[in-house]
């Protein structure tokens, strides 16, 4: 028991715990913010995994082509947008079932990026670490939050920006309306399909950013199918968070922590079953949803296709 307590203490007091957690959580957070926006507008975006992966690859491509990390970042964001364009247009302009499109896009993304990676083998120059003096000296969480690759810092302003966009702008109001009661929105003169598409597009941008972060900031290289299902944890985070921004970010943090455990354990010299550690974030996602999904309220029109004239 004491040994266990000692282990927990060591875990919580080690720098690497926080640093690792932030690395994994940032990835999830970027994606979760995008997914939250898409789901508030009424789309369940199964292809978020494909978006992140595509963004990761295009970021590597961009970085390889120009040697410039900024360009790589841009390419990554565009990569995610590309997938989102197909998903959004097919789901909300052509009325295709969003699950079918999403699943297909995931398969396509995995296959295409792996194929192209084998052909092109882009070399990635990782982004540099930027240290914010003063803030980075805060014990434990300081380095985790303020001594990271500069891409991670993009998350900090993104959070209030997303919140402001959804809750304080007309665009955000229409977005929420379209996710709750698209008929009412239509009758009020809102272009429902357009707003829903835009929700998906924004998700693509954020997921592409997540992918760029994965390649340029987190790992420093592109691995075929290196995402391995972690994109879906972003989906779980939104559900766990009851479709609020705070909740989704909380989920990203928690699931990121559990992902970080395997590298943290190694750093601290603990031995733990490899498979258990890899499965842990998914298990925790299930458990947290079991506890919380029960009480949350999803947007009324979530995943329901909108058709005008059904009054």
């Amino acid at each position: 028991m004491i040994a266990f307590g000692g282990a927990i203490w060591e875990l919580l007091s080690s720098d690497s715990t926080y640093a690792s957690t932030m690395r994994f959580s940032t990835l999830l957070a970027f994606a979760a913010i995008g997914e939250w926006i898409a789901e508030r507008a009424g789309t369940i975006n199964i292809s978020v995994e494909g978006m992140i992966l595509t963004g990761a690859f295009t970021a590597a491509l961009g970085s390889d082509l120009t040697g410039n990390v900024w360009v790589g970042l841009l390419f990554g964001v565009l990569g995610g947008f590309l997938v989102a364009y197909v998903q959004g247009t097919m789901s909300h302009r052509f009325g295709t079932n969003q699950f079918v499109v999403g699943l297909t896009l995931n398969v396509l993304a995995v296959g295409l990026t792996a194929f192209l990676d084998a052909q092109i083998e882009p070399k990635v120059g990782p982004a540099g670490i930027l240290r914010i003096p003063g803030l980075a000296s805060i014990p434990l969480i300081g380095p985790a939050l303020f001594e990271r690759t500069w891409i991670q810092y993009m998350l900090y302003p993104l959070i209030p920006l997303a919140w402001w966009a959804v809750y304080r702008t007309r665009w955000g109001l229409e977005l929420r309306c379209v996710g709750e009661n698209p008929q009412a929105g239509d009758v009020s003169g809102i272009d429902v399909s357009k707003r829903r598409r835009q929700g998906v597009f924004v998700c693509g941008l954020c997921a592409g950013l997540a992918g760029a972060y994965l390649t340029l900031g987190h790992t420093g290289s592109f691995t075929a199918n290196g995402l391995n299902g972690r994109g879906f944890l972003a989906l779980a985070a939104v559900i766990f968070g009851g479709w609020t921004l705070k909740g989704a970010l909380g989920g990203a943090l928690i699931f990121g922590f559990f992902q970080a455990l395997s590298s943290v354990f190694q750093a601290l010299g603990y031995k733990a079953n490899a498979q258990l550690l890899t499965a842990l974030p998914y298990v925790m996602a299930l458990i947290t949803m079991l506890v919380f999904a029960h009480r949350s309220r999803q947007p009324d029109a979530l995943a329901r296709p909108f058709v005008r004239g059904l009054t």
Binding site: L173, E174, R176, A184, V187, S188, G189, R297, R308, T311
Partner: protein, 537 residues
Amino acid sequence: MSDTARPEPISAAASAASAASAAVRLEGITKRYGQVVACDGVDLALYAGRIHGVLGENGAGKSTLMKILIGLIQPDEGSISIRGERQAIADPLAAADLGIAMVHQHYSLVEPLTVWENVVLGEPVALNRAKACERVVAISERYGLGVDPLATVSRLTAGQRQRVEIIKCLRREPQIIVFDEPTSVLTPAESEQLFSVLRTVVVDEGRAVALVSHKLDEILHATDEVTIMRGGRVVDRLLTADATASSLAQSMVGRPVSLRSEAAALGLIETVAEIAHDDPTVESPEDKHARVVLDVRDATLNDADGRVLLDHLSISVRAGEIVGLAGVEGNGQRALADVLSSLVDLDSGSVLVAGTEVATSKPGALSAAGVGVIPEDRHDSGCVLDLSVAENLVLADLGGVSRRGMLDRKAIDERARDLMQAFEIQASSPHAPMRSLSGGNQQRVVLARELSAQPRVLVAAQPTRGLDVGAIEYMSARLRQAADDGVGVLLISTELEEVLTLSDRICVIHKGRIVGEMAQHETDIERLGLLMGGVNA
């Protein structure tokens, strides 16, 4: 009296006005859906400063016409002129730009949002909470439509929601306003208030108002002139002052109509009340001793947000009687019907059918115990649109049409044909998809299915909503017949006329509990209205 074939304005005053100042002129509007003609060469003119009634039974085409005006539907033929200029109205946004607005019945408010958010929805300006709230308060004060801008819509009553709809409509300063069946969610007192708001809006501010309705009372009380539609065409046009209830009724329905026998369908509340007084169904001694077939005791139900839907509600129905549950929409009727359909489980309280308690948590338990339900929204829980008519007719009782687990197609067909004949259901065949049937026929399918199961209790929630006069009469007759056959009928309706005509006993529901009860022969409309509004009378 007016000739049903002549679609010309009658009075000189009207023709003089028509020459120049028509705010809206619809000419030759035609809309077809496949073989069905919803609107057939309709002409309509609305003038500033006047309230124009559009009268027609359900199915006459008035809703379609208004949807065309507001931009939700495109006409196949015909033209629309706004203030003398021809316009094409592509969508609701274009209609709003032209100064046309509609106060909808449903589907226009987003429940999780607040009042001010709903009011500014769709407005192409930056979001500013303070300004929006100011505006809401200003409008509500000007027209006497009190409502709190920060309240969440899901917590408002139906009457309050309508006020929000009106404020939302007026916010854009429209020149032309359409009210679609506005009093169906209001108490009689609220209706009066609405009419006075209309007067202010129209007369004081010179707007053109159209009032779409199937109720003669509304038309006679609130409008200056009226256009009558039937079967997609305009059949008459006259000043309200020149109209009488019977002339309107005859134009609307197309045949001589006895006001007394069809008063409920026509929406003539005072006539209905008269009938109830003069000619009540007197309770015979044996009625009093008929056994109680449905007994709801102390039912309590809260929704997921903790709001009270049913508040220790108790109501009972005897075999052979029709109990009418009157009340304004949103006071727990839906919850009660859902409980009796096994769709929702009670938090506390019990339901007894013929003396035996039935679990409300078990799907289909109440149906098996003999409780038939005609739900308020048949698409939601009454039928399955994607199945065929025959499948819909048998879906509650598969045991009777199957052998050893396998469906017997012939038996299903036979049962379907029998029922279709007995209930006069019009469909191309038993295999026609339910979707292809008209509203009235779909309602008959639901009725047929429920009655054919020989229920002990029949719960009819808004059974005649959306039906034309003929279908309404048929439904009412069937309900009466069911009661005569010994079924206990619980009629849940927001249409006071319907409740008054059919019920032996009337209960009033308000905020989830029964607040008053009276027998048919002692009905007092004023008292009913007060009870419905929550005033203890």
